[in-house]
């Protein structure tokens, strides 16, 4: 386990508080996922509600509107995954911070640039961000798939639009 952590530390600049960065990124990822789930549930719930009309005084007394269709999946999804994009942007900016770190208080970039290992500086400035970016993309992709499964599962039979991937209309 310790060696794995050591390997991870090699993807960040020397002396950089990388464990804090990883914890922060994990927090941002969890927050993004939570917000995405909340937003998707709200949008999916609203869209499903719109398929029904009230027939009685109670909430459960409702009928499916004949011919009503669900909006397409992209329309339901909306900007639910936008928080992941924001997290990705922050990670990209962090890689710039990694480079600038080598000029703070000293020019350690001089040392890094004259190492026999040509890619050491690039690895330490971009490696960690790239790994976290990949985790962000993976988390977004997993949610994208899970949301689609939910979309299919919660849409009443016969209410799926002809093109579930249509970006507009539906």
């Amino acid at each position: 386990m310790r060696t794995k952590w050591e390997a991870l530390s090699r993807l960040f600049p020397l002396g950089w508080p990388w464990s804090r960065e990883v914890a922060g990124a994990a927090g941002a990822l969890a927050g993004s996922a939570l917000l995405a789930v909340c937003l998707f549930i709200y949008r999916l719930g609203s869209a499903v509600d719109d398929l029904y009309r009230q027939t009685g005084r109670h909430a459960w007394e409702q009928d499916l509107i004949p011919g009503a269709l669900m909006p397409s999946y992209p329309q339901i999804l909306g900007g639910a995954l936008i928080f992941f994009a924001a997290a990705a942007l922050a990670l990209a900016l962090l890689s710039i911070a990694h480079f600038l770190y080598h000029r703070q208080g000293a020019r350690s970039d001089y040392l890094m640039r004259r190492l026999p290992q040509r890619w050491e500086l690039a690895r330490r400035c971009l490696g960690g961000s790239a790994l976290l970016l990949a985790c962000t993309a993976l988390a977004a992709a997993i949610l994208f798939g899970l949301f689609f499964i939910c979309y299919l599962a919660f849409t009443p039979a016969g209410c799926l639009p002809p093109d579930v991937w249509a970006a507009t209309g539906g």
């Binding site: 020397l14 000293a106 020019r107 350690s108 001089y110 040392l111 640039r113 004259r114 190492l115 026999p116």
Partner: protein
């Protein structure tokens, strides 16, 4: 042998820092690199290390300087190239990992001699200690050519004297030093050769042995090479006081 052939460097603004420098430095030499501010000393060192792009040729034993042979060069700069947040011990580990010829024994001995703490972050060191540490790293890397750019800026005279003595004591015959400094008189007994840069060109290149034979001091040589006018200050003062 470190060979520089017609090395030119022009910065983006168009200013010429190096204007066709030709220089050869052999193994074991201790060379002082002198020149006024802006003469091109720092630029020259950065070009040798590949930190700046340049025109011309720089070769180490006939080979261009690449990651394959870059470990044969080390660098101590007044800008400092360590990691301020790291301890001296962490620097040692990093150097040991990246430079196969790292001299651990020399590192430990120099750290001990200058009484530098091994477990404290380098940013907590005094200015003098930071300079010492920078030079210790350059000397311990295991390089054949050690480039030093104003390494003692901010150190007191006793500190510098100590360093010259230690340097002379520890250097092995094949180790080469290229030392850029303004402290001419201080280093004249330490160096074996003086190279003078002026406006990006080599304006003078002489061994201290030749100087001795000619009965001249290093300062005289520098003044002659730069055509320094000794009465410059008195004339300027005279003109200024006349005007007033």
């Amino acid at each position: 042998m470190l060979d520089l052939k017609n090395v030119k460097k022009t910065y983006l603004g168009g200013s010429t820092a190096l204007d066709g420098v030709n220089l050869s430095i052999g193994p074991g030499e201790i060379v002082g690199l002198f020149g006024e501010n802006g003469a091109g000393k720092t630029t020259l060192m950065k070009c040798i290390l590949g930190l700046l792009r340049y025109q011309g040729e720089i070769a180490l034993d006939g080979q261009p300087i690449t990651p394959k042979n870059i470990a044969r060069l080390s660098f101590a700069t007044c800008e400092h190239s360590y990691f301020p947040a790291l301890t001296a011990g962490a620097h040692r580990d990093f150097y040991q990992e990246h430079f196969p010829r790292f001299r651990g024994k020399r590192f430990a001995a120099l750290m001990d001699f200058f009484q530098l703490p091994m477990g404290k972050a380098v940013r907590s060191f005094s200015t003098g200690q930071k300079n010492q540490f920078e030079v210790i790293l350059a000397l311990s890397q295991g390089a054949d050519y050690i480039l030093m750019d104003e390494p003692f800026a901010g150190n007191d005279i006793f500190n510098r004297e100590d360093f010259y003595k230690v340097l002379l004591g520890i250097l092995e015959p094949e180790e080469t030093i290229l030392l850029s400094t303004h402290l001419l008189e201080e280093v004249q007994h330490f160096i074996g050769r003086a190279v003078l840069l002026h406006q990006g060109k080599v304006a003078g290149d002489i061994t201290t042995l030749e100087l001795e034979e000619q009965g001249r001091g290093l300062m005289d040589f520098v003044k002659e090479t730069y055509q320094y006018k000794a009465d410059r200050v008195s004339r300027a003062l005279g003109e200024l006081t006349d005007r007033e």
